[in-house]
């Protein structure tokens, strides 16, 4: 076994140990499928602990794993570390440089008088000895992992110029059992797969989850009433509200970027799918499209425009409209015969979608300035792309050995990763916003 393999195995073991603290059902395991050819070498030295307030959480390991999960960093094996400083003053940069590190991260977890715990880190350039940054984050002890993720986000930003997307949650649908007797569940987990929580369960389909911009609510479609209905549910309390159970289809909910409106697909009893905008405060419903084709899968950009899938031209393609404008929707995709499920990057500059390329359904990204389309994934049947809040990664659903798995790809296509469930099929992942 080479060192890299060993590290991967030890990573899996540490994740398995972590999984032991959770209920004994399907867990998610994060693995890196492929990274950049020349990842940045970094030493994340074990942090000074706050016993017992830290509950045994290994903050340095969480940070190292976060950075490695991007495929752009290679963490030094702890067992090769000669000493383990926890403050900048104690770091001998030259010795870390000699062990081929570009960066060193040291840090401390401390208990505060009010019962919270604080994570403090120091980022040192091993080549120059310069102290580059000292991010910190405070949390309740049971939320120490999130504080570690926030510090990792800041370290990522300092080294690569973009923040990490670690202090975030994902939601996804899990399906168990063989057709026609399947069980559908809606889950929320940390971006690394930890702290999984089931927030919904039904013997009839659950689908199309969507985060509210503040990360406190999920909108989704449930067939629990035998026909489709859109619900919103508060993640923390589980409080669930029916927002649309009109005749025909109630589908594809998406929050506007201010969180005040929900775009929906409704069909009425005549079965013509069009887009509507539901104001969550006033309950007023506004029609956005009126076309005999299928119009669905709305996604807002940063300026309030709505991108959506429509087969008005004969095959599904992506269109853009501006609510309130009299202009006809404009077609945006022209490459290939099938483009669907648009999602717009946080900065509004890129469009991610599902595209049919070389006979396979894959995840693609289109630059909205140049309209160049790039296929990012390599599977046969992939779907549901969702941007990380830093705009640098996408999570999507793929298939392996006939089973649905969650995958990630960087928007430059250079790195890929996987979140594997050990039982059941997982699909429709959506990446939530940064958590406060």
């Amino acid at each position: 076994m080479n060192r890299r393999m060993k590290k991967l195995v030890s990573l899996m073991i540490s994740l398995a140990a972590l999984a032991g603290t959770l209920p004994a059902q399907a867990q998610l395991r994060l693995t890196i499928s492929s990274g950049v050819t020349d990842p940045i070498p970094i030493a994340v030295v074990p942090f000074a602990r706050a016993v017992p307030a830290d509950g045994g959480v290994d903050v340095a390991s969480i940070i190292q794993k976060d950075l490695e999960s991007t495929g752009r960093f290679k963490g030094m094996d702890r067992r090769d570390m000669i000493n383990t400083p926890t403050t900048f003053a104690a770091v001998d940069a030259a010795s870390w440089k000699q062990m081929r590190n570009d960066y060193v991260v040291v840090g401390r977890v401390t208990s505060l008088p009010d019962g919270r715990v604080k994570v403090e880190a120091d980022l040192v350039n091993a080549l120059t000895g310069v102290h580059m940054d000292s991010p910190n984050s405070t949390a309740q002890p049971d939320n120490l992992r999130m504080a570690a993720h926030r510090v990792a986000d800041a370290l990522h930003q300092k080294m690569l110029g973009v923040p990490g997307a670690f202090a975030t949650k994902i939601a996804y649908i899990s399906v168990d059992g063989r057709p026609p007797n399947q069980k559908y569940e809606l889950y929320v987990a940390d971006s690394d797969g930890a702290s999984r929580k089931r927030i919904g369960s039904s013997n009839l389909p659950l689908m199309s989850p969507a985060w509210s911009p503040n990360g406190e609510w999920l909108a989704y479609v449930s067939f629990e009433r035998r026909t489709s209905a859109v619900f919103v549910q508060e993640v923390r309390t589980g409080r669930k509200i029916l927002v649309s159970a009109r005749a025909g289809i109630n589908g594809a909910p998406t929050y506007s970027r201010d969180g005040k409106k929900l775009a929906l697909t409704l069909s009425g009893s005549n079965g013509n799918l069009d887009l509507y905008l539901l104001d969550l405060g006033s309950q007023q419903l506004t029609r956005l499209t009126d076309d005999p084709g299928i119009d669905t899968e709305a996604s807002f950009d940063d300026k309030g425009n709505v991108y959506f899938t429509s087969d008005r031209s004969g095959s599904p393609q992506i269109y853009r409209l501006t609510p309130g404008s009299a202009d006809r929707p404009k077609r945006v995709t022209f490459t290939g015969s099938y483009n669907a499920r648009p999602r717009i990057s946080p900065d509004g500059k890129q469009l991610a979608m599902l595209t049919l390329a070389d006979g396979a359904y894959r995840i693609a990204i289109q630059d909205l300035a140049s309209n160049n389309l790039t296929v990012l994934s390599k599977g046969r049947q992939e779907e549901s792309p969702s941007f990380a809040p830093n705009g640098a990664m996408l999570i999507f659903a793929g298939r392996e050995r006939g089973q649905g798995v969650l995958q990630t790809v960087s928007t430059d296509g250079l790195t890929t990763g996987r979140l594997d469930a050990d039982a059941g099929e997982v699909r429709e992942p959506i990446w939530g916003p940064y958590l406060p």
Binding site: Q284, D311, L356
Partner: protein, 172 residues
């Protein structure tokens, strides 16, 4: 039952709003009766019934066939299904009190919400065929499950052809 009380309230609130041509009152507390609508430009907002349960239904060589299959990306009823459709149409027009739910499905390829649309298109194609053959509108309802409830697991044409379907479900 608690659920049916909530549902009755929902129906009542919809009925109230349906009779109200102007904008509904603003409800700052969105937790209460969120299912309301206005300015729907022609969208049928009649409440859906969800308490109908499936029953055995009629028997007979053609009537016991309850599944109509479709070609890839198509929503036209194939020639080999016409006799089954005609048999159900004849039975339903003779038995005006009998109701069916037409459940549309798609195979797993492509986008899930778009496939909900495809399943609906198939259910609507069957609905129109039954209406043309004398079935009353009130006897028919549709639902699309898209690719969410496959009849057959598997990712090959064999499974796909089983999954592109509309199921005719007789209701109590």
């Amino acid at each position: 039952m608690k659920k049916s009380v909530a549902f009755t309230l929902l129906v009542a609130s919809l009925a109230l709003l349906a009779g109200c041509p102007s904008k509904p009152k603003t409800q700052p507390d969105q937790q209460q009766t969120p299912t309301t609508s206005s300015n729907t430009s022609g969208l049928d907002t009649s409440p859906v019934t969800s308490d109908e349960t499936a029953i055995q239904g009629p028997s007979g060589e053609l009537l016991s066939q309850r599944i109509v299959y479709f070609d890839f990306d198509r929503a036209e009823i194939r020639a080999d299904s016409q006799s089954v459709v005609t048999a159900h149409a004849a039975f339903l027009s003779k038995n005006a009190g009998v109701k069916v739910r037409l459940e549309g499905h798609a195979d797993e390829r492509g986008s899930r919400e778009y496939n909900i649309g495809l399943g609906e298109r198939r259910a609507q194609a069957l609905r129109r065929a039954l209406l043309l053959q004398g079935v009353a509108e009130a006897q028919l309802s549709t639902v699309s499950y898209g690719e969410e409830r496959p009849a057959s697991a598997g990712s090959d044409e064999q499974a796909y052809s089983q999954n592109r379907r509309v199921e005719i479900v007789y209701l109590k």
